[in-house]
């Protein structure tokens, strides 16, 4: 699944490790989600959306 995590992270100048710490997951998880290798569960997607103060649809896209 495509996502805008890298952009959102860059806007806040967070490293993958910073985001991982905020999400309480491993850096490997953040990397896997960011590169589209792993689709997060709904609870984790909501957590991401809340963290970036946006909607899930604004982060993830199932098109293209």
């Amino acid at each position: 699944m495509k996502n805008r995590l890298r952009v959102l992270r860059a806007e806040r100048e967070w490293s993958q490790a910073d985001l991982a710490q905020r999400l309480e997951v491993s850096r490997q998880s953040v990397n896997a989600i960011e590169t589209g290798k792993f689709d997060p569960s709904l609870p984790l997607a909501f957590k991401l959306a809340r963290l970036f103060e946006t909607s899930i649809e604004a982060i993830f896209s199932d098109e293209g």
Partner: protein
């Protein structure tokens, strides 16, 4: 096992696993000595023979607890893939070996070896899973 730093579920897993391993060693030695020196028979022999296997059952429960307690869903997913790979490879090996034992002259595979073989395969599987998800 695929390890990530600062993971409380993994720390608990390694601690519990080590305790089970120590229990295994602690039960295996006296069991062997009891069979060598006292040659127990009947129900006592069965009960004694099962004793060292109990910590191994404990290790399987420890794996279940870890999977239930692992909060990082990506890491949990990788661990489940590694364990499934290990289970699949072990079943494949013992099935093929079983038929070879029936029809050829391959040496007999002792059943107690299946468990360490399983962990060897989990290790190989974890390496492949990790390389694919780096």
């Amino acid at each position: 096992m695929i390890c990530s730093t600062n993971n409380p579920a993994q720390r608990r897993f390694f601690y519990r696993f080590a305790v089970a391993m120590l229990l295994y060693a602690a039960l295996l030695v006296p069991t062997i000595l009891a069979f060598v020196h006292y040659r127990p028979a009947g129900l006592m022999a069965y009960a004694l023979a099962v004793l060292p296997a109990l910590p191994i059952l404990g290790m399987l429960i420890v794996i279940g607890l870890y999977l239930a307690e692992e909060k990082d869903e990506f890491i949990r997913n990788l661990q489940i893939q590694s364990l499934l790979g290990g289970i699949g490879l072990t079943l494949a090996l013992v099935s093929v070996w079983g038929f070879m034992e029936n029809f050829t002259r391959v040496p007999r595979l002792d059943l107690f070896l299946v468990y360490p073989i399983f962990w060897g395969f989990v290790g190989i599987s974890a390496f492949v899973v990790w390389m694919r998800n780096r």
